[in-house]
């Protein structure tokens, strides 16, 4: 399994840089991963990351619609916070696997 040193901490990741062990995730690591993606994390970002991590821990599908219905942010805002590919980027920063959902 691949490993990567992020902010001085060794983390297990896959070949695309997604955490393979969500338990290794911390807020500090998230900030560093986000920086690599060109994103400066705000409280709003962290609220979304918490939401995604919670859904993942419950085994629920990560869909963009669920983020839009989370009450944290609407979908347009989500695209604004994680520009380009929001679900993939947010999952990467949240330390969870790449979303396997098509919606």
């Amino acid at each position: 399994m691949a490993q990567k040193i992020i902010a001085g901490v060794t983390v297990d990741v896959n070949e695309e840089g997604y955490f393979t062990n969500p338990a290794q995730w911390t807020k500090e690591l998230a900030a560093e991963v986000a920086r690599e993606e060109g994103i400066q994390l705000t409280d709003k970002h962290y609220a979304i990351l918490d939401f995604l991590r919670e859904r993942h821990s419950k085994g629920e599908a990560l869909t963009i619609r669920s983020v839009g219905n989370s009450g944290i942010i609407d979908i347009k805002g989500f695209y604004g916070l994680f520009p380009g590919a929001p679900m993939k980027k947010a999952a990467k920063v949240a330390g969870i696997p790449k979303p396997a959902s098509c919606v």
Partner: protein, 179 residues
């Protein structure tokens, strides 16, 4: 049989990495649930990948962006050999002609999709729009069905001729997809 790393597949992988898809233009010409959702899922998926996305609705596909019809699309219960009963048995075509069956099957399909977090048509279009995707309507088909811009969902960006749509489809790493 799976063959590893043939010279051809290596070249193709390099091409995929060097020339990722940048833009998709997706055309929807039919108005059944499955045809419309194929276009919507492909488009929303593209937007979520950061791919520039343009949708073009024409002929019966216009039902998907017409206010009156967009949230009550049907699937055909007649002449569809892939149609199955809930248990998996074939769905007799003769059953499909009974009044109300098509509506029932269609609403069952919509509720199944809702369980998978697949939104209704209007909400799906709004999601695509929120991510920067653009939705266009075909002028010729609108003339044919006597539809006006006001009849369409507010998010439709423009009514275009085929030529105008092609003008928007230019650029390297662009694909036109007909669902």
């Amino acid at each position: 049989m799976h063959r590893c790393a043939s010279p051809l597949s290596k070249t193709m992988n390099m091409a995929n990495e060097e020339f990722p898809l940048k833009k998709v233009c997706i055309i929807c010409a039919k108005g059944t649930i499955e045809d419309v959702y194929a276009a919507l899922v492909m488009s929303n998926g593209a937007v979520m990948e950061g791919i520039e996305t343009k949708m073009f609705f024409t002929f019966f596909g216009l039902d998907a962006i017409t206010k009156k019809t967009m949230n009550c699309l049907h699937t055909g219960t007649v002449g569809n050999p892939a149609m199955r009963m809930p248990g998996g048995l074939p769905f007799p075509t003769l059953l499909g002609v009974i009044p109300g069956v098509e509506a029932g099957v269609s609403s069952m399909m919509r509720s199944q999709m809702d369980k998978l977090d697949i939104p209704p048509v209007k909400e799906f279009l709004e999601m695509i729009e929120a991510g920067g995707g653009e939705v266009y309507a075909c002028k010729l088909a609108m003339d044919m069905f006597k539809l006006k811009k006001d009849d369409l969902w507010e998010g439709v960006k423009e009514v275009l001729t085929v030529g105008q749509f092609y003008e928007k489809c230019g650029g390297l790493q662009t694909q036109i997809i007909f669902t």
